[in-house]
């Protein structure tokens, strides 16, 4: 197989199970010296799991790993680090209150003879390291005050400082602005020249193709293809990521969905040039009554933050929001949004439900003021809840059960039921089907369609193409904080969504 030198890192037949569910099945993976290796695949395809095995985070697995031809088995991330493998995780771990220099040398600060930190030496070493990476930064500034891209550089510098020969980057570009991405790529090129190897995980296929020497595609815990990046294109990647579509029970939307023609209903939401710097910019959108708008984007593209801003949870820096032509004063937070007719179901059910309280109280909380101005009327609350529990098929159908004892799908139904008695004008659903089984997903689709039929304006925000395709009449794709493309009245499949994002 290899010509001349043996590969730097080689994995063979690696499998990994989580509680009986296969996350990786018989994966072979090879990383050569001075190579940038791109990994792509949908959420849950196994990329991150494999990298965590390499970085010593997951220690229980089948199969073997060779580093420099030697059989290795890491027992901890520290083992992997000592062997020269460093990982920069998606969630950055710089200490915001410490200076840049302290962060670069975190855990390895040089000490003087008395055991105190040798500040001057530390600054010199940090400067040296950053300059070697072609970065100039104020060493004394607190790291938390810097833009995300620079924080990432600090973390990179820290990992390299520890002597890493193999650098694993998990989704490094998703939160970066274009110039920051550019800088990161220059850095990667430099690392490659110095003989180090990089594994680069990303949803951004253009980025992967630009920066990698080799690309590998994962699907459902298997490696389904590896090729030199030069020889393949985006469509080759997407084809393999999506697969033939027969492997999963659920609909995989390899076939295009035909979006219905635009409807003439009255405009409910008019949002103009909404901006929160660093999250999303100049987002303008309209939603009509009886229309479901899907906003799709990769994780970290800003669509979930846009949902929070429309719900009054995140203050807007610029922009105006009108509901039914009246300006909505979202500065007043969620109560103001509710008054304007906006209801929000966030992606985290924990942020939505009172787990220790019975189902009926979880449903009635949003309409208590309509049931009684001062006094509670539990029998009315129960009756309303029982109606919804029956029509939505919540199982078990007991309104006095603490909602924490229901399954995820049933919890989501309860969260939706909250807005069904007195309908809002605009319903914002953030990741409405995340982590649900097929049956529960179908139920949610049915509920959303029912609401649309009653003339609600609905926006679905998601990073799962299936969710948007199964629910939306019209789709906007958000790319790095910008609404980049619209699909309406035409056939759209997962491939086109992925390509646009």
């Amino acid at each position: 197989m290899q010509t001349g030198a043996e590969p730097l890192l080689q994995l063979q037949g690696v499998s990994k199970h989580f509680a009986g569910v296969a996350a990786l099945t018989g994966v072979d993976f090879t990383l050569n010296r001075g190579e940038v290796h791109g990994l792509v695949g949908e959420n849950g395809a196994g990329k991150s799991t494999l990298m965590k095995i390499i970085a010593g985070v997951h220690t229980q697995y089948e199969g073997e790993m060779r580093l420099d031809g030697q059989l290795v088995r890491f027992r901890s991330p520290r083992d992997a680090r000592e062997a020269g493998i460093g990982m920069v995780h998606q969630e950055l771990s710089v200490v915001p209150s410490l200076s840049v220099a302290e962060n670069v040398l975190l855990g390895a600060q040089p000490l003087n003879r008395l055991g105190f930190v040798a500040w001057r030496r530390m600054r010199a070493q940090a400067r040296e390291q950053l300059e070697a990476l072609g970065i100039t930064m104020d060493l004394g500034a607190p790291a938390g005050a810097l833009p995300l891209g620079q924080q990432q550089m600090i973390e990179l510098a820290r990992v390299l400082m520890s002597g890493a020969r193999i650098l694993i980057l998990d989704e490094p570009t998703s939160a970066l602005s274009p110039p920051e991405v550019e800088r990161l790529f220059q850095l990667l090129a430099r690392l490659r020249q110095s003989g180090r190897s990089v594994v680069f995980i990303s949803h951004f296929l253009d980025d992967i193709l630009r920066v990698s020497d080799t690309v590998t595609v994962f699907r459902n815990g298997r490696r389904v293809g590896t090729a030199p990046a030069r020889e393949v294109g985006k469509s080759w990647l997407i084809e393999r990521m999506i697969g033939a579509g027969h492997e999963r029970l659920e609909e995989s939307y390899t076939e295009a969905v035909t979006l219905p023609p635009l409807m003439p209903g009255p405009v409910v939401l008019e949002a103009e040039r909404l901006t929160v710097r660093g999250l999303f910019e100049d987002a303008s959108l309209r939603v009509r009554a009886g229309e479901v708008l899907g906003i799709y984007g990769f994780m970290g593209s800003g669509q979930l933050e846009l949902a929070r801003a429309l719900a009054g949870k995140l203050p807007l820096e610029h922009g105006t929001v009108r509901v039914d032509g009246r300006p909505a004063r979202l500065r007043g937070g969620t109560p103001a949004a509710k008054r304007a007719g906006i209801a929000f179901v966030p992606e985290s059910r924990r942020a939505m439900l009172f787990t220790q309280e019975p189902v009926y109280r979880n449903i009635s909380i949003a309409i208590l003021e309509r049931i009684g101005r001062i006094l509670l009327h539990p029998q009315v609350e129960r009756r309303i809840a029982e109606d919804h529990v029956r029509s939505l098929g919540v199982r078990p159908p007991q309104v006095d059960l603490p909602v924490g004892q229901l399954s995820g799908g049933n919890q989501q139904k309860v969260a939706l039921a909250r807005w069904l008695t007195h309908l809002p004008r605009l319903l914002l659903l953030s990741e409405p089907t995340r982590g649900m089984d097929v049956g529960a997903k179908d139920d949610v689709v049915r509920i959303v369609r029912g609401l649309r039929a009653q003339g609600l304006a609905i926006i679905v925000f998601s990073s799962e193409p299936e969710t948007v395709l199964s629910l939306a009449d019209r789709i906007l794709v958000m790319r790095r904080g910008v609404l980049a493309q619209e699909f309406a009245g035409e056939a759209v499949g997962k491939d086109r969504l992925l390509a646009a994002a």
Partner: protein, 342 residues
């Protein structure tokens, strides 16, 4: 019928698990029964009607303060200023009442009802300042009420300047130290405040919001509940209860002076927590607080009846509070485990 049959109806939980889930409510009650049995066995003077009246009278002021504090703790906040606000309000009331010539205070006598009204407005104002600091400025209630503790102490100190005042309006004298037949008025007032506190918590929309804000603040916000308004309101309610307790306390003690309420901060917090209201918010209620008040009252009173060394008494109270905290945290953990298993 179309839904998948993979979800099973939860089986009826075994008895011990159901009891475990009720640990928060059962443990304080069991403690109360055990203490009553213990002291009755050790001292013949303990289990008498006269002594029961004693105990009730002894916990009345704590009870009034504890009602407001129950609201605050249910919201997962804390109010450390209750005793100081009580002190300041009591002293303000005395300051607004004609004192004997021997009392050397540059006071500002008002007609009785007006003095009571102004004193109540005074404690409401203190509560409003606390509420503003916590909800508008965003100071954690622990620190904000610590500042309010000092501020209220300072107001009290400035008003009496080390003196002792004795007179308060007639109505307050009656409520604080008079009797309605055999029952002291202060017990009646405490019972009414407890009852009102319970009714509001259990039967009004506001009461439900208090539980929901304490149970999951973010979810309450997402449901369109104005969390800030609820938190601000409970802090004002707490100040109002403290002020009422402070006015009655002056009549009960027969004098108004600096620091006379100092013990009530710990007593009131202990009563709420010993009763089983969750320190993490969202669970408990006035019923729990009543049991907590009785546990503390019986313990204090009973230890006197068996002639416990009064210095050892302090230590024992500390240990009881520690035990209650352990149970409180443990009950929460049990609940969390059940929740994640469900």
């Amino acid at each position: 019928m179309s839904a998948p049959l993979t979800e099973r109806t939860p089986l009826r939980e075994p008895l011990w698990q159901r009891l475990g889930g009720q640990l928060r409510n059962l443990a304080p009650f069991a403690t109360l029964l055990a203490l009553v049995a213990l002291f009755s066995a050790l001292s013949p003077s303990f289990p008498t009607m006269a002594n029961l009246a004693n105990i009730l009278q002894q916990v009345s002021i704590t009870a009034i303060i504890a009602v407001g504090l129950t609201y605050v703790i249910l919201c997962a906040e804390i109010d450390l200023s209750v005793a100081s606000v009580a002190n300041a309000t009591g002293i303000l009331l005395a300051f607004l009442t004609v004192q004997d010539a021997s009392v050397n205070i540059a006071n500002l006598p008002l007609p009785g009802p007006l003095a009571i009204l102004v004193a109540l407005l005074g404690c409401l104002a203190l509560g409003a300042v606390t509420a503003f600091g916590v909800t508008r400025i965003g100071i954690p209630s622990f620190i904000m009420t610590l500042a309010m503790l000092q501020i209220a102490n300072g107001i009290a100190a400035l008003l009496v300047r080390g003196q002792i005042a004795y007179n308060v309006p007639e109505a307050i004298v009656t409520l604080g130290s008079g009797s309605l037949g055999p029952v002291p008025w202060i017990v009646v007032v405490a019972a009414l405040v407890l009852l009102l506190g319970h009714l509001v918590l259990a039967y009004t929309r506001f009461g439900r919001y208090v539980y929901m804000v304490g149970g999951n603040r973010e979810a309450a916000e997402h449901s369109g509940v104005s969390v800030k308004a609820v938190v601000g309101a409970v802090l004002v309610i707490s100040a109002l209860c403290s002020g009422l307790a402070g006015m009655l306390g002056v009549a009960y003690f027969g004098s108004a002076q600096q620091n006379q309420f100092d013990n009530y901060l710990l007593d009131a917090i202990s009563a709420v927590v010993v009763g089983g209201t969750s320190l993490f918010g969202g669970q408990g209620g006035i019923g729990n607080t009543i049991v907590g008040l009785l546990v503390l009252g019986v313990l204090n009173n009973g230890l006197d009846h068996i002639r416990m060394d009064s210095f050892l008494k302090i230590l024992i109270r500390g240990l009881v509070l520690l035990l209650a905290l352990v149970i409180n945290v443990y009950a929460q953990r049990l609940r969390n485990r059940r929740r994640s298993a469900g």
